[in-house]
Symmetry: C2
Subunit: 344 residues, 2 copies
DNA sequence: TTGTAGGCGTTATCAG
DNA sequence: CTGATAACGCCTACAA
């Protein structure tokens, strides 16, 4: 016998399969003795219920799909960790697929997951959220419902699409204010990947921050990037050749900031004396850079857990309003008072 | 109609469900016209085959389980990326669970995945491989087989258990030789997590390297750790108070090395002038530390892909011998010639 | 080449 | 409280 099933147990226990089924799922209408007896037997036989068979009839797989832009990004990994722990403790499995930061792969990945019949979808850092409304009949759940989609750091109001995000703009703005209070007047920004709403919001926050502090926004102070180490590295050269030269820079994320820090060290640009650097995310590594990175904390694990909660709530038919979390600035050694006199 | 199924198509196409089934899976015995007609109809109706129903009958889910010690570890993330791409292109989904570096959670996670009927299991950095032989009937596949388990960086010969790993000992030994050739005589080692075979092998390699270079192994030069940033950070203090003071240190992984680098910078210990540091893994970040980290490259993505290939091979009943990859030393700025004269 | 019938392991709806 | 019985959506001999 390859696999002990519910009927095997039934036979040995001299009861019907349905009774066994009920015993196994703590159904109220069954005598305690029977249940105990059956449970013991199941245990002893090493019975493992077939999730597959169960899913076929219930229409639920107890599985959540996660499409991640890139697990190699510490922010994503950290969020994923939160997602995993929450999912696991809710009895849900996690089916994962990577989009490799590519919008078209993103919906391909989503489709694959949906085809594997995940109950819901969590997208960590979507870059193509508008396409979810087009996912053909793929989102149709066998139970007749539509798989909820939870977007991380991407506000998007559409039926069946939920969101959990940070106050990206507010935090970015706060970071600029911090720099302004330290006396910096020329603050650059290394932008994030196009298409991502978090990039957009952080850029907006940067501009708001400048305005709030009566600083003039200069287009050339905004550098392109994609939230990767290389971007920060390359940004330094650009910063050094600018006129007037910025004395501080806010980066889309810690990765870019770390790249920038490395470039600065290599080029002999002293941080924070000659240049103050602020990151975003507060990944574990940011405490171990040289100098330690001032950054904006994002409650990464909590966001992941919130995404799962939102998903389950949607699944249960309960209301699941957008969640917006806020982040604190973590002051470390990469920022300092502006040493340059301002000659307008 | 909640979900279009094979019988819906059959009805509309005026054929039997089995014909539709055959058309959908490119079965040879069906007329091309029918197939075309049916395929078109399916497409038009937005038909999505139910993986669940399919799995119930075939006994295969086309899903591979991955238990990862911690996605937050860049090495693990990088390997996972390789696993994902290989799995995806083979048409397999990925069910993931985290062990949080805890041996007991590791087998719990494995069990959860197995209960979700994954076809095979890949364990990224196992710390409790001997327990896989005890996984009760959980590994029993519905098709009557046993789910193959592929261990990463953990050699383990047992039926149904496969392995893909690096030549950890060889690489560690080579790293020691490099340091020795740079003139270092007192080389410390920051060890990795207990239980992991890669820790064990790298430690062994370190000792072999010492022996090969006629250096005396001193127990106090071996520091405990778990492959995390903190371990390197804490190791520095220990190193500084040793007599004689080591002039070089090999770390279990890049994370520990990065922590060590940070501590050194904070304490004013100049790297590599006063201390040479070598990591292991060559994670992307290691090129962006200050100074850039000399380390041992591990073909991370390739290892992940090899793990998937091994798993699929085992699934197909083909032989899948252990795979051992080798790593190159990547020479960067954290190592240098020993500046201290040797006073025995 | 195509149709029929049985079954994969569970759950759920009925009667008893 | 318990037992038949019918799905769930698909695959696969076997029959036609």
């Amino acid at each position: 016998m390859t696999h002990v099933s519910i009927v095997d147990i039934a036979r040995l226990a001299q009861v019907s399969p349905s009774t066994v089924s009920r015993a196994l799922q703590n159904h109220p209408r069954i005598s305690p003795e029977r249940r105990a007896e059956i449970l013991a037997l199941a245990e002893q036989l090493g019975y493992r219920p077939s999730q597959v068979a169960r899913s076929l009839v219930t229409g639920q797989t107890h599985t959540i799909g996660v499409v991640a832009s890139d697990v190699t990004d510490p922010f994503v990994a950290e969020v994923l960790k939160g997602v995993e722990s929450a999912a696991r403790s809710a009895g849900y499995g996690l089916l994962i697929a990577m989009s490799n930061r590519d919008p078209s792969q993103e919906i391909t990945a989503a489709t694959v997951l949906l085809d594997h019949q995940v109950d819901g979808l969590i997208v960590i850092s979507s870059r193509a959220p508008d396409r979810y409304r087009q996912l053909p009949r793929a989102r149709e759940n066998a139970a007749g419902g539509v798989a909820p989609v939870v977007l991380l750091n991407h506000d998007f109001s559409e039926a069946g699409v939920y969101s959990v995000r940070m106050d990206n703009a507010g935090a970015a703005s706060a970071a600029v204010t911090l720099l302004s209070q330290l006396g910096h007047r020329h603050i650059a920004f290394v932008a994030g990947p196009g298409g991502g709403q978090s990039s957009h919001a952080r850029l907006a926050g940067y501009l708001q921050g400048l305005a709030a502090n009566h600083l003039t926004p200069l287009p050339e102070l905004i550098l392109q990037g994609a939230g990767m180490l290389e971007d920060g590295w390359e940004a330094l050269t650009a910063l050094q050749t600018m006129q007037p030269r910025p004395t501080a820079v806010l980066c889309y994320n810690d990765l870019a900031a770390i790249g920038l820090l490395a470039a600065a060290a290599r080029s002999g640009v002293s941080v924070p004396d000659a240049l103050s650097v602020v990151g975003f995310d507060n990944v574990p590594l940011s405490a171990y850079t040289v100098p330690a990175l001032t950054t904006v904390e994002q409650p990464k694990a909590a966001m992941g857990q919130a995404a799962v909660r939102t998903c389950l709530r949607a699944l249960a038919g309960e209301p699941a309003p957008p969640i917006v979390m806020s982040g604190q600035i973590v002051l470390r050694a990469s920022t300092g008072v502006c040493r340059l006199s301002d000659r307008a």
